[in-house]
Amino acid sequence: MTDSSEGINSPTHPSGRPVYIIDGARTPFLKVRGKPGPFSPVDLAVLCGRPLLLRQMFPKNAIDQVILGCVNVLANEMNPARIAALRLGMGETMRAFTVQINCGSGMLSVDIGYRMIREGSRELILAGGTDSLSHAPVQFKQSAIEWLADLRGAGSFKKRAQHFRDLHPTDFKPEIALQSGLTDPLAGLSMGETAEILAHLFSISRDEADLFAINSHHRLAQAQKGGFLNGEIEPMISTEGELFDQDDGVRPDCSLASLAKLKPAFEKPFGQVTAGNSSQVTDGASWVILASEAMVKKYALNPRAVIIDSAWSAIDPEIMGLAPVMSIAALLDQQVREFDKIDLWEINEAFASQVLACLKAFECAEFCRQFLDCQSPLGRLNQDRLNVDGGAISLGHPVGASGNRIVLHLVNALQRLNLKRGIASECIGGGQSGAMLIETI
């Protein structure tokens, strides 16, 4: 407690009330298997939120704000936060909004919640993230939509008949929204290609990336076996009665040999980013509960961690995977903290080569001097302290949920390992990143 209050009261800490993480839960992350999964983004948020709220000491309507990150919002679930709040039975007066900053949405919701409580406008907040990538819509191309609009405008039968002459069947080839979503519209690069760029610029070999991926799977398998995710993952049941109770993308038996067989997924035939060393496309949701000191007292809550600070940064979309370096550096700078004072790290595994590029940047003196304004390199991040129970490569990356999951898991991992201080960070498609510093209590 003393250490954390030191953080809060430290001169560089933005003044304001302390904000506690009370609890949190997530769904199992379910790998997309070619067709829409059983749950929409709001379904996931509801199925995750129900057991979380059930285990709280306070009534649902004690919460005064719901914030939910979601990237692939379905047309019939506009403002998923509000729909989820109502479906969770939180009452018609529950305020709820949805936030979107792509891969950082689930952390942005926590950050906004943290700032609202800190400044005193809210007391108890449910902040989460959700995405059902298996439900990403299939769309018509713009040319097809224009053709249809013109057809409707064609007055006579003759004109309409003529209009059919202008029809090109390829116009009606469906576009998968997910594919366009994972392509940077300005850079014209898919996310995988940005990872290829980083691999090249930071000299990450295919073997290094595959090894990182294997670690991710082995760590998750270990965590599942050891029950480290009990309480973090709440099971879900579909209307068909199917029970989902763990992340289903894990491959405990994957090896360098098996990963080496995979063909490059984005830059054939010479690229090195494969399905095996990239994050998995999954469905999932995650929530954390944030509380003010007053609420902790009022409901005799057991705070698990305190949020110390956060930072957001941006760089070129072409190297978006490197952005965590910037936000982490900013966060450490704000807090006058040293790299090795951080006990545990969660950096979202969008791509193995992207995370590894970040690590190389941290320890590169020239990079740190040139771009981070540091005299010496930030430091060497010991991989034993990074994503200790696996990450998006083994358990998946439901875009809107991941930022929330890493904050939640950081709390859980710090407590399990009896450690104090951790940073969670993720790269964000478009070239941004967020980082959050928390301390256990």
Binding site: V46, R50, P51, L54, R55, L86, R87, L88, G89, G91, E92, T93, E234, P235, I237, S238, T239, E240, G241, E242, L243, D245
Partner: protein, 707 residues
């Protein structure tokens, strides 16, 4: 989703009453049951508002006043008439059933009906345009009144139907004639023969209403109808063809055979009367109106109608018993997701409660979610309603809901040890004011209450399977139960739209104990060599919904045997021995429907029965039914249930005891207890002591009731 406080309270303003909203209410109103006011353009709004009741019914007084009002309208000749209800929730639910129970004399009924027909006939014949605005329930006589108007506009929440057939009657206020001439006569007949009600959109599709509108458009809709002239629809060519005599004869034959598939027409005379009415008079509305009076009067005096009306009142009485003023339950927690637990959970979440459900095997909880989704599908609930039901049902992996629930229902296997472990864990966590209930069907509550810290807050809630079909719930008391607990439990049963009956905790409680007398005798007779088909035919001929052998196969022979063994231990059947054939079957794992083989072979959920054309034996019927009746008397004598009326209700709603007989004890009254006692004595000599009349037959209170 239920509405919030603000919306709920401003919704009170929703109902459009036109000029009635500003007219003087209360003081100086010329009529008790009607409100009337004219608007600026000379349209009169007339609203039914039966004094002192929450729902409108059609009574003599309501009609007499309508008669006076029609005098005034004839005199004033307004531009049009709007007819609606001033009640928030309903248009009119039909004739007041109570007045049918006092029927004494045939001629009186006919006279009374004629007069009523005359009054509503005046409404039908009035020269000004008439528009009925229908919201909420509009049933029976209420719909018949609306049918007298030129136009009907339905608000989205309207439900319309002519359910008289369910009381052994058919419509009696002109509905048979007016409905068959308004819409496709075949659809009209189906509506009346099934007694089903339809929602606003279905009513529109049938042509029963002109339009479905929102409450907020009522004024404009009335204005348009009155000012833009009223188109009277003429019957379509198809409908006119269907109304020809040869077509009616053909269709009537169809209706008869379809009806015979559903009910035993010997027991239920109303469908035949209704079909004949249309077959004979379908082309002539006046003749059909005339004939309806005669036919209705005759049906009303039949024992079937009188008994069904009795059963209806029993249900009302049971519903009233559920209104104990207890606060509404918000959250129930179900422990055990076996077939009963998940059924209870599904039903409660369907009825709007938040439900948490726990089972040590979480896969069972997953099945509960699935079966809830299946229940919603079977009820054809719209997608969004299904989602609400499923959102309210929370799978609870760690039994956390026990701490916040108003009521915890235990539905774990029937073993004292298991149940007591569940209770001690639950009691430690439950809210101090929460109730603990058990769904046990065989363990005495005194046993279960032994180690409880708060036995006074413990009660039995014995649901029947399947919960969504069986209306009865036995509320089982015990010596240490608090009266408030029992009252709250009854209120809970009422809240989820089931019928509570309070019974004492004795072996098998009420319904199962009485039913097992029936089942055991049937088993005995099978052992004697009577073909199961004959037994089932006998029971069904008496009016039981399912014969005893088929019932046993459906319930599961292993379960029947277990119940029989438990009961025989607790009740000491006079002859001690249980029938042998069932034991043989169970040993072979032939457990009935679920194993595909029991007394019968089962194909696609149907038993394969041998054709048996031998006439039904009266002796067989008595051997099956009289043990039940003897058992009823024993239950009364022992005080398993106090009120004999409620016993009849419980047997009808919990066991499907032939409703048209008005309940087992009512059957005794009708047949004469003398005859039954003699038969029991004779059977006791012939078949064994189990038939010996229970000492309760000498109990004066019981004798009084049975006279």
């Amino acid at each position: 989703m239920s509405y919030g406080k603000l919306y709920m309270s401003i919704l009170e303003r929703e109902q459009e009453l036109g000029p009635l909203e500003t007219s003087q209410s209360g003081q100086g109103r010329p009529w008790q049951h009607w409100q009337m006011a004219g608007d600026a353009q000379g349209v009169v709004w007339l609203a039914l508002d039966e004094k002192g009741r929450e729902v409108n019914t059609i009574t003599q007084a309501v009609l007499d006043e309508l008669n006076d009002i029609l005098d005034k309208l004839d005199h004033d000749q307004p531009k049009g008439l709007v007819l609606r209800s001033a009640k928030r929730t309903n248009f009119c639910v039909g004739a007041d059933i109570n007045q049918f129970q006092k029927v004494v004399h045939g001629q009186d009924i006919t006279d009374q009906l004629r007069k009523a027909h005359e009054i509503v006939g005046r409404l039908a014949d009035i020269s000004i345009p008439t528009i009925a605005i229908i919201h909420g329930n509009c049933l029976g006589g209420g719909l018949e009144l609306a049918l007298c108007c030129d136009h009907r506009l339905a608000i989205g929440n309207a439900r319309m139907g002519l359910p008289e057939i369910l009381l052994g009657l058919h419509p009696g206020l002109g509905g048979t004639a007016r409905l068959t001439s308004l819409i496709d006569p075949l659809k009209a007949m189906t509506l009346m023969l099934t007694g089903r009600s339809v929602d606003a959109n279905r009513a529109k599709a049938l042509g029963l209403v002109d339009k479905v509108i929102e409450e907020r458009h009522v004024l404009k809709a009335v204005d348009t109808l009155v000012n833009k002239g009223l188109r009277t629809k003429h019957a379509s060519l198809k409908n006119r063809l269907l109304a020809t005599k040869p077509a009616r004869r053909l269709e009537a034959r169809q209706m008869r055979s379809k009806t015979a598939e559903k009910v035993n027409m010997a027991h239920y005379p109303a469908p035949e009367a209704l079909i004949a009415l249309w077959e004979d008079h379908g082309e002539d509305i006046d003749a059909m109106l005339q004939a309806e009076v005669q036919s209705f009067a005759k049906l009303l005096q039949s024992s079937t109608a009188q008994n069904l009306i009795r059963v209806f009142s029993l249900r009302e009485a049971m519903k009233r018993a559920a209104k104990t003023g207890a606060e509404a339950f918000q959250h129930i927690h179900v422990i055990g997701a076996g077939s009963m637990g998940r059924d209870i959970a599904a039903w409660c979440s369907y009825k709007g409660l938040q439900v948490t459900i726990f089972d040590r095997d979480f896969n069972m909880v997953a099945r509960a979610v699935k079966s809830t989704a299946e229940m919603c599908a079977a009820k054809h609930l719209p997608h969004n309603v299904t989602r609400e039901v499923l959102d309210r049902l929370i799978p609870d992996r760690y039994n956390l809901g026990v701490a916040s629930a108003d009521l915890v229902i235990e539905a774990v296997p029937e073993e004292i040890g298991i149940k007591q472990t569940v209770y001690s864990h639950a009691e430690a966590k439950m809210r101090p004011d929460a109730l603990l209930a058990t769904n046990t069907s065989s363990i005495p509550l005194e046993e279960l209450a032994k180690q409880l810290k708060k036995p006074e807050q413990f009660v039995g809630l014995h649901f029947f399977n399947p919960v969504s079909k069986m209306q009865l719930v036995e509320v089982v008391g015990h010596r240490r139960a608090d009266q408030q607990t029992i009252a709250n439990a009854k209120a809970f049963v009422g809240q989820i739209d089931r019928l509570p009956v309070e019974v004492a905790s004795s072996a098998g409680f009420l319904v199962n104990r009485i039913l097992s007398a029936y089942l055991l005798e049937a088993m005995q007779m099978v052992d004697e060599g009577v073909p199961p088909e004959q037994l089932d035919a006998a029971a069904e001929d008496f009016g039981m919904p399912v014969g005893p052998i088929e019932l046993a196969d459906r319930v599961g022979l292993d379960i029947c045997l277990h119940v029989a063994e438990t009961l025989s231990g607790q009740l000491s059947f006079p002859e001690g021995s249980l029938p042998g054939k069932i034991r043989e079957l169970v040993e072979k794992d032939w457990n009935g429907l679920k194993s595909g083989q029991g007394f019968y072979r089962w194909q696609a959920d149907k038993p394969e029965k041998q054709k048996d054309n031998s006439p039904v034996s009266k002796e067989h019927i008595d051997r099956l039914i009289l043990p039940m009746i003897n058992s009823c008397v024993a239950c009364l004598r022992e005080g398993v249930i106090v009120d004999p009326e409620l016993l009849d209700g419980a047997m009808v709603f919990g066991a499907g005891f032939a409703p048209f007989r008005g309940g087992p004890l009512h059957y005794v009254r009708k047949r004469g207890s003398e005859d039954i006692l003699t038969t029991l004595e004779r059977f006791a000599e012939k078949y064994g002591e189990r038939f010996r009349p229970d000492p309760g037959w000498q109990d004066l209170r019981i004798v009084d009731f049975l006279e």
